[in-house]
């Protein structure tokens, strides 16, 4: 059972605080924040999500810079509490449209109302937005979407593809549109996070795709939905029958949201479900099947005298030219004794930034967009504060990359169709099926 729940801002302010059992002292938020901020245990820089101070167990998750914290004195399942905290954050987001400090402060009464229904006397009651809708009566005050920070995760859908309504993802599930009429639409996002490690000679050492099919439904009347995936989809590496085909998609493993019914999944790879309100993952999957990495990275370090070296970074985009990757950031740790770095971009470079972070000795190269098939190079001249000894490649690297590629997925997993079962012929809601590939850990060793 959970004793307390609270939300802290980045500075440690109490935004929301709810005590359910009264068996943990009131100052717990402060104790927690101090502990997290000055965590230096065992050489670890970061506080683990679960720790114990004087018999009180603190659980926390970080969501958009806010700390969602729960405390308890009993030996609970850590997974349950952390999952719950994540779920509370999601419910709040469903209601408020946008989750940040401002929106919570503006809607704190609603948040309290939600918290009362989600947890009673420390026991979880429900975290389904759908169910909560019948118990919660406060209207959300939706904050202006225009004031959104540009780095919100939702922003990845807003660039490049004009036909996508940018506000959709930040729309509250319960609040009505200003027009009064609710727009009938459903979003299905296939989000894939890829992890690739290249060896120093450029081969792929490890690669993995962690994907999720996320759904957010604004359909009235909760109609049933059928979602068809690739027919050649195979699950589990032991599935011999299907692995023979070369073009097939083989997932290592997957799991499903509880609303998903898998009756016909084994036959024709369709999932049927009645989507509850709010955002939820329909299916999580993981695959280690080989795929073509979207970027190749070439790094060359040349020593030029004992106090100088030149780094040449080259990234080439290996995806179709009609696709554009956004907000690419290339990072590379440089030797500790690097004093200065000057950069030389290729001729005619647009929207590229370079930076040398003095404190962390890290090179940062940002590119606004890269279109498929293109190649970009950066030359950096390094000056060292002490003479080189030993191998410079041992002191620098690895090069890491973060990026977002909309309308592209590497796994070839596809939603073939999205069927909404509703009798009326005039009923034709908007259906958005979107693909996004993001870098999780994209690293090239040098």
């Amino acid at each position: 059972m959970i004793s307390q729940f609270f939300v802290l801002s980045q500075r440690g302010d109490n935004i929301v605080f709810r005590d359910y059992r009264g068996d943990v002292q009131k100052g717990s938020a402060e104790i927690f924040f101090r502990k997290v901020k000055f965590w230096k245990d065992d050489g670890e820089e970061e506080a683990p999500p679960v720790f114990n101070v004087d018999g009180v167990n603190y659980f926390h998750v970080k969501v958009v810079g806010l700390l969602f914290v729960a405390t308890t004195r009993v030996n609970m399942s850590p997974s349950l509490v952390l999952e719950l905290l994540q779920r509370i954050a999601r419910v709040i987001k469903d209601y408020l449209g946008i989750l940040n400090e401002d929106s919570i402060r503006k809607n704190f009464v609603l948040v309290y109302e939600l918290l009362d229904e989600v947890i009673d006397f420390g026991y979880v009651q429900t975290t389904s937005t759908e169910v909560l809708k019948s118990y919660v009566f406060n209207e959300p005050i939706v904050i202006d979407a225009a004031r959104l920070q540009p780095l919100n995760p939702a922003s990845m859908f807003m660039q490049g593809t004009k036909r996508m309504p940018g506000t959709a993802v930040t729309k509250s599930v319960v609040a009505n549109d200003p027009g009064g009429r609710k727009r009938e639409e459903i979003f299905v996002d296939i989000i894939e996070k890829i992890s690739v490690t290249f060896s120093s000679s450029g081969y792929i050492l490890t690669s993995e795709i962690d994907g999720t099919i996320q759904m957010k439904s604004y359909l009235s009347g909760n109609p049933e939905i059928r979602l068809a995936l690739n027919e050649d989809l195979a699950i589990g590496t032991s599935d011999y029958r299907s692995s023979s085909g070369s073009g097939s998609v083989i997932l290592d493993d997957c799991n499903f949201h509880e609303s998903v019914r898998l009756d016909s999944f084994d036959i024709d790879r369709t999932l049927s479900l009645v989507p509850p309100d709010g955002e939820f993952p329909v299916m999580n999957y993981r695959m280690t099947q080989e795929f073509k990495p979207p970027f190749r990275i070439n790094t060359l370090i040349e020593e030029a005298g004992s106090l100088r070296a030149e780094v040449i970074l080259k990234i080439s985009a290996e995806f179709p030219s009609n696709i554009t990757a956004n907000t690419i950031i290339v990072q590379m740790p440089l030797p500790k004794y690097t004093a200065r770095a000057t950069f030389e971009l290729e001729a005619g470079a647009v929207g590229q930034t370079t930076d040398f972070k003095e404190s962390t000795k890290r090179l940062e190269w940002g590119l606004k967009k890269i279109s498929g098939g293109s190649e970009h190079t950066l030359r950096a001249k390094l000056t060292f504060s002490q003479e080189l000894h030993g191998n410079i490649t041992k002191e620098a690297g690895p090069v890491s990359l973060t990026f977002t590629i909309p309308m592209y997925n590497v796994s070839k997993l596809q939603v073939k169709y999205l069927q909404i079962a509703k009798k009326s012929s005039s009923y034709n809601p908007y259906r958005w099926v979107r693909y996004v590939t993001q870098a999780n850990s994209y690293v090239a060793r040098i």
Binding site: D42, P48, V61, R73, S79, F121, Y135, D252, P281
Partner: protein, 1368 residues
């Protein structure tokens, strides 16, 4: 000008006049009229229209708060009465006036809020009684303000009355806010809370179920003790409400009531109502809440009430668990977690039930919620605890879902799952060995995740993946994150200590030392030290590198201590060791006490080896140590000083005895703790890696957690023993738990049989470490009985495993016990409570003893035979618990023993309490010897076997396969796919363990235990043993079963089976073969015993082997023969225990047997391995003198010895001798020589060797080795011309490179000299005969890349792709 102006103004109308006349006057007139009209309207508005609703509507006046007159309203009377009560409750002198009230509760923290609070109050008052339309919106705004103040921390409790009053409204939003407010302040202001009762109670009867529910929740959340009487009624009706929401709230309400006042809750009989609801309600959330509530209530009641305890048991009864499981799908995910948590406690009555439950729950593993998946896994693990093979399959099954969870959630969620995965990996690393890539760290992961992953990588390392894992770890060592870099270096070290492919790893560790990063060097030093303690044979390689490290670059105390230890230990190998030590002593002040202690010891050691050089340093060190402030340092210095004064040679024996390699480093966590953590799967214990009693607060811990345990313990025990065990346990468990946790720190390496001395040992031999040291310490004690000296002796001896030698079985201590002692349960209990724990110790059981415990009854009889009585026992495999007592023969003083035995780890945890403390140690020894005496255990085993064997085979064959629907569906797909595979081996490897026996049954003809097929099945087992010992064991068990069933009488078959057991190191199985052999009436012979001893020795069970020997020695028919001694000699040779090996050799000769070639092989190879070269030479000469022709192995060992001594001359002599005597020179033999020459960089010698080989017409492997050696040496000397010449020479003799390493060395040499064209030529030349490997390609690519030759890189990559090296 003047007059004109005036006349014009008077006579004729000026333009001004016109303006006045024509414009101003009409305006004045019109405005006058308008003013009139406006006044009229205003009057009308003020007097009439304002009060007309329609007009308000039109003009939008609704939202404006209008003035009201509360006095005339009914509600305001209510309000007044509240105020009156309010003021009377809080004392006299409180005026009715609001401003005075605000001063009653001034906010201490936020004085600025005071004005605003009173402002709010007046506004609330205004709104309070209004029923006017639009007033609700205004109230909402105000309420929000109040609550926002409340959350910021401003005390708004003074508004209580107004808030309550305002909430008399049908608006549910307002009500909710008010409830929130009330709930927050009720506890601090119980008097105020009373005010709310009235309207809350009324709301509880509202028509709207939402309001009923809300009111009930608020009412029960008030947490005020004196209000409970108002709570019972609404709760009772709430529990019967027809709306599910109200019922869910009411159930929680009942629990809240229990916490406010348990007696009220129980008196109202709410638990019974809840139980009824739980079993009948249609709404799953109600059921879930009932379950939570009842668990909490009954748990805390069960300590006092029999009935509650019974009810609590009822929760895990079969009908109830089935009821919940059947409804499982109705629950939401959190409810499912709750139910699964309960199901994990349920113990099914038979295996069918197990599989039913598992089949039912299997799809839960695909749930997206990690908590549900983990709860399901817990059920699976608990259900299969007693079924080893299925348990393992569960691990296989849950692997994929866990990995998916780890990669799908947020870092925090994946951390929680990863901790559990970590636990499973630690328990069964071999299952996860092929998934090691999943545990690679990603650069952006938080360090807490990385740390877990590194530990898992360490655990899963085995022969197949070590290379890749270590390569990956080395990448992390250069990581920017220093903590992780350190962690990964430690991981490399741990893998090195696990003895997989040590050679390559040692090189890597040594590379770390050369990386010139402080922290890397520091960590690597500590590791190299540990490595040398376990594998002294690496000293040569390591010391060469360590010698190059300047002690000035090492700052961390631990690393410094490690360096100093090595300097001391290998003083003879490092030329400047004394001088380095001396310089360290000169800077004495800079170091920590830890370093000082090591420094003193190291200098002592160095002194004994190189006295003249060290004398000065020793003097300085002792002087500095004696004047040190640190007590330990001072004591040690003083101790050494007196020791040296007493006698230098005995000092040497104390400080610098011959070292034995450490076989296993002590585990930081005992198995008991690990099992306890595992039992608490899916809880915080996993994340913290400690059992819950170590971190949960005692005050807040219910007493029920222990009673849980007892419940498990007593299941399956015999009924007459149950009651005392339970009662004693309940009183004592907490103490015992504490004592085990404290012991964790002090429990160092308890001797696990390695200190056991061999029989017939020549005790005059001064090299025997244990006894001679005892003698010395005794002498010292006599010479100088000062307390400091003796403490220092303890200090010193700590590292020598002297803490707890097990009592020798042959010589029981002189303590006599009363064979007919009696003690009733009551007085046992009393004594147990009164007496302190005298001794608490963990001891090894020996696995045959543990195997005997498959029936605890056998142990009880056995202990009774030793005059130790059992008063209570219980437990379930693998954990058993016994309470024993014994009485002295001549006096009434008793000993009480609590003995926890874990059969899977074969450890026993003893807690002994004694009335006569002085003899408790003797008793411990007696008890242990009784417990570990193997012949008795074998007898017990035989008894158990006789009973079980008849039924077991049948049961195993029938009941299991029937109920295997569960695995068939999920695990069998792979098996069917490869059904076409031709060999049985491949089939067995593919099969899951549980199906092996069945498969064997069907393949009867191939492996039927007939002698003709023996060879087939031998090789089968041998090959299986390497890949899966578990399966090999099953095959052997199956064969045994068949043989027993067939009534096989052939002794050699059994003997053969036992020696197969040695291959899989399974003593219990060998024992059971032995007993079933006896059962079949076959006469045992010495050779059977020899096989048994061999099995024991190869499984490291020295004590058992020795006891077997004693049995043989005492018997008539199977006296030990020559082979027996051989077995022991080779066994100890494998342990590298020269002393005992020599003792056995001695014993063999004394027994009248002559030594044979085999003995010499063992003796010489062992001596060489522990670097006792002189003894090795001695044996070699002895063997030659006896005319025994040396075998290849002997020659190999001798040569190795010579090489290790780096004695070039003698090596040369020896090789020449071999060639002259026409011995066959093998590759491995010559490899050693070549390696030596390469190290010494003597190309001429190798060339000579080559000539000699050619001269003596030696061909093949050896010649190739020499060729490669020459090339290697030239390559490392960068003599390219010579390299090319020798390559050409080798090729011309029709030979090509044998290992990629040599080719790479040559390539590196080219790169170093930047001779790229020559490299091309070389490659072209070489690739004709030799296929390049992937690592070579890697090297080429890296080299070219560094040189900036991109086109070369491309062409190499192309080559590689075409050669197919990329694929592998």
């Amino acid at each position: 000008m003047d007059s004109a102006a005036t006349s014009s103004s008077s006579s004729s109308p000026s333009p001004v006049d016109y303006i006045v006349l024509l414009i101003l006057r009409p305006i004045a007139a019109i405005s006058f009229v308008f003013v009139f009209i406006a006044l009229g309207w205003l009057l009308a508005w003020k007097l009439v229209l304002v009060h007309v609703p329609l007009v308000q509507e039109i003009f939008g006046l609704r939202k404006k708060p209008a003035k009201f007159k509360p006095q005339t309203r009914r509600l305001s009377r209510y309000y007044n009465s509240i105020n009156a009560r309010n003021s009377s409750a809080s004392g006299p002198g409180q005026a009715m006036a609001p401003p005075a009230q605000s001063s009653r509760n001034p906010s201490p923290s936020q004085p600025s809020g005071k004005g605003e609070v009173s402002d709010l109050r007046s506004q609330l008052r205004q709104l309070a009684g209004s029923r006017a339309p639009g007033v609700d919106d205004a109230k909402r705004e105000l309420f929000k303000k109040v609550i926002s103040y409340m959350t910021i921390g401003i005390d708004v409790s003074s508004l209580f009355g107004e808030m309550v009053m305002c909430s008399v409204t049908p608006d549910i939003v307002l009500k909710k806010m008010c409830y929130l407010y009330v709930g927050n302040y009720a506890k601090v202001n119980p008097d105020l809370a009373l005010l709310t009762i009235n309207f809350l109670q009324r709301d509880c009867k509202d028509q709207d179920p939402m309001i009923r529910g809300l009111a009930l929740r608020s009412l029960s959340s008030l947490r005020v003790a004196n209000l409970v009487e108002y709570l019972v009624g609404p709760l009772g009706s709430g529990l019967k409400d027809n709306n599910a929401y109200v019922r869910t709230v009411a159930v929680m309400g009942a629990l809240k009531l229990y916490h406010i006042s348990a007696s009220t809750c129980l008196d109202a009989d709410f638990p019974a109502v809840l139980k009824h609801l739980m079993l009948n309600d249609s709404e799953s959330q109600v059921v879930a809440n009932c379950l939570s509530a009842l668990q909490e209530i009954w748990n805390s009641e069960s300590s006092t009430s029999e009935e509650a305890a019974r009810e609590k048991e009822g929760l895990i009864s079969k009908p109830f668990i089935y009821y919940l499981l059947n409804r499982l799908r109705e629950f939401n995910e959190w409810g499912q977690c709750l139910v699964l948590e309960l199901v994990a406690k349920y113990v099914p009555s038979d295996t069918n039930e197990n599989f039913d439950i598992m089949n039912l729950l299997e799809d839960r593993l695909q749930h997206a919620n990690g908590a549900v998946v983990l709860a399901t896994i817990k059920v699976f693990l608990q259900l299969t605890l007693s079924m080893a093979d299925v348990h393992q399959e569960v691990y296989e099954r849950i692997k994929a879902p866990l990995l998916t969870l780890v990669s799908s959630g947020s870092p925090e969620q994946s951390y929680a799952v990863l901790s559990h995965l970590h636990l499973l990996v630690m328990r069964a690393p071999y299952i996860f060995a092929s998934d090691y890539k999943h545990f690679y760290c990603q650069y952006n992961e938080p360090s807490y995740v990385k740390k877990l992953k590194l530990e898992m990588l360490t655990a899963v390392a085995n022969e197949n993946n070590t290379y890749e894992i270590v390569t990956e770890l080395c990448e992390y060592a250069a990581n920017v994150d220093v903590a992780i870099a350190r962690e990964s270096i430690r991981a490399v070290g741990k893998i090195a200590l696990q003895q997989y492919d040590v050679n390559a790893i040692v090189d890597r560790l040594l590379q770390f030392l050369e990386m010139e990063k402080d922290y890397v060097t520091a960590e690597a030093l500590v590791l190299v030290k540990d490595l040398l303690r376990k594998y002294p044979q690496w000293s040569h390689d390591c010391i060469a590198v360590v010698g190059n490290i300047s002690s000035k670059n090492v700052q961390e105390p631990k690393a410094k201590a490690a360096l100093i230890w090595m300097l001391g230990e290998y003083a003879q190998d490092m030329d400047d060791a004394p001088y380095i030590l001396e310089s360290l002593v000169e800077n004495w002040e800079e170091d920590a006490p830890e370093v000082h202690l090591h420094l003193l010891t190291a200098i002592m050691k160095c002194f004994f080896r190189r006295p003249p050089e060290t004398q000065k340093a020793l003097g300085m060190a002792l002087a500095a140590g004696l004047s040190d402030f640190h007590q330990d340092v001072h004591d040690r210095a003083l101790f050494y000083y007196r020791l040296l004064q007493y006698d230098v040679s005995s000092a040497e024996r104390v400080v610098n005895p011959p070292k034995q390699a450490v076989s296993v480093f002590a585990d930081t966590q005992s198995n008991e703790i690990k099992d306890r953590i595992f039992d608490e799967f899916n809880s915080l214990s996993i994340v913290y890696q400690k059992p819950s009693y170590m971190f949960t607060d005692k005050d807040h811990r219910g007493p029920f957690e222990f009673s849980d345990e007892i419940g498990n313990l007593t299941v399956g025990a015999e009924s007459e023993h149950v009651v005392p065990a339970t009662s004693v346990d309940a009183n004592e468990t907490s103490d015992l738990l504490l004592s085990t946790s404290e012991k964790e720190d002090t429990r160092a390496m308890v001797a696990n049989g390695s200190d056991y001395s061999a029989p017939f040992y020549d005790s005059s031999n001064p090299a025997l470490p244990l006894q001679s040291e005892l003698a010395i310490t005794g002498l010292l004690g006599a010479a100088d009985p000062g307390p400091q000296a003796s403490t220092a002796i303890d200090d010193l001896l700590m590292g020598l495993d002297l803490t707890a030698p097990p009592a020798p079985a042959s010589a029981p201590p002189p303590l006599k016990l009363n064979a007919r002692a009696a003690l009733d349960a009551g007085s046992f209990q009393k004594k147990w409570r009164e007496l302190p724990v005298a001794i608490s110790q963990e001891c090894e059981l020996g696995s045959q003893g543990a195997a005997a415990l498959t029936s605890p009854q056998a142990l009880l009889h056995h202990m009774q035979g030793n005059s130790i009585q059992c008063i209570a026992s219980g437990g379930q495999s693998p954990n058993f618990k016994f309470f024993f007592f014994a009485q002295k023969a001549d006096e009434p003083s008793v000993f009480l023993v609590e003995c926890k035995i874990n059969t899977s780890t074969t450890k026993a945890q003893l807690n002994i309490k004694a009335e006569d403390q002085s003899t408790s140690h003797e008793f411990l020894a007696l008890f242990q010897s009784a417990l570990s005496r193997p012949e008795a255990a074998i007898m017990a085993l035989a008894a158990a076997w006789r009973r079980v064997s008849s039924s077991a085979a049948g049961v195993a064959a029938q009941s299991l396969p029937d109920s295997f629907r569960f695995q068939q569906r999920s695990f069998c797909s792979s098996a069917t796919a490869v059904a076409s595979a031709d060999t049985l081996l491949a089939k067995l490897l593919q099969l899951s363990t549980s199906q092996i026996k069945r498969a064997l049954d069907s393949e009867d003809s191939v492996v039927a235990g007939r002698s003709s097929d023996l060879a087939v099945s031998d090789s089968l087992v041998a090959r299986l043993a390497s890949s899966s010992p578990q399966k090999a064991k099953l095959v052997l068990e199956w064969r045994l079963e068949r043989m027993v069933n067939d009534g096989e009488k052939d002794r050699s078959l059994y003997s053969n089976l036992i020696s197969l057991c040695a291959k899989i190191r399974n003593v219990p199985l060998a024992m059971s073969v032995f007993t079933s052999m006896e059962d079949c009436g076959i006469q045992v012979t010495a050779s059977v015993f020899n096989s048994l001893i061999h099995t024991c020795l190869s499984s490291n069970e020295v004590i058992t082997a020795l006891s077997l020997f004693e049995i043989m020695d005492g018997s008539e028919t199977f006296r030990p023969d020559s082979e027996t001694y051989d077995t022991f000699i080779s066994g100890f040779s494998n342990f590298r225990d020269t002393h005992r090996m020599r003792a056995w050799y001695q014993a063999k000769r004394e027994a009248g047997f002559s030594a044979n070639l085999l003995n010499y092989e063992s003796l010489i190879s062992c001596c060489v391995k522990v670097k006792d070269f002189d003894t090795a030479d001695l044996f070699y000469n002895e063997m030659m003198a006896q005319g025994i022709a040396p075998s290849e192995k002997v020659l190999d060992s001798v040569l190795e010895g010579l090489c290790k001594r780096r004695n070039c001359e003698r090596v040369k002599e020896f090789v020449n001798f071999l060639m002259e005597c026409r011995f066959e020179i093998t590759g491995s033999l010559i490899e050693k020589v070549v390696k030596l020459y390469c190290e010494l960089e003597k190309p001429d010698e190798i060339e000579k060797l080559l000539d000699a080989l050619v001269e003596f017409n030696q061909v093949g492997e050896a010649l190739l080795q020499v060729h490669c050696g020459i090339i290697r040496l030239y390559a490392s000397l960068d003599r390219l011309d010579d390299v090319e010449y020798s390559v050409g020479r080798m090729m011309s003799q029709g030979m090509s490179f044998s290992s990629p390493g040599d080719v790479e060395r040559v390539i590196s040499a080219y790169f170093r000299r930047e001779a790229y064209d020559r490299l091309d030529l070389f490659l072209e030349h070489v690739t004709r005969y030799y296929k390049l490997t992937r690592s070579t390609y890697d090297l080429l690519v890296a080299g070219y890349r560094r040189a900036g030759l991109t086109e070369k890189v491309d062409s190499v990559v192309k080559d590689m792709e075409s050669s197919g090296a990329l694929a592998c």
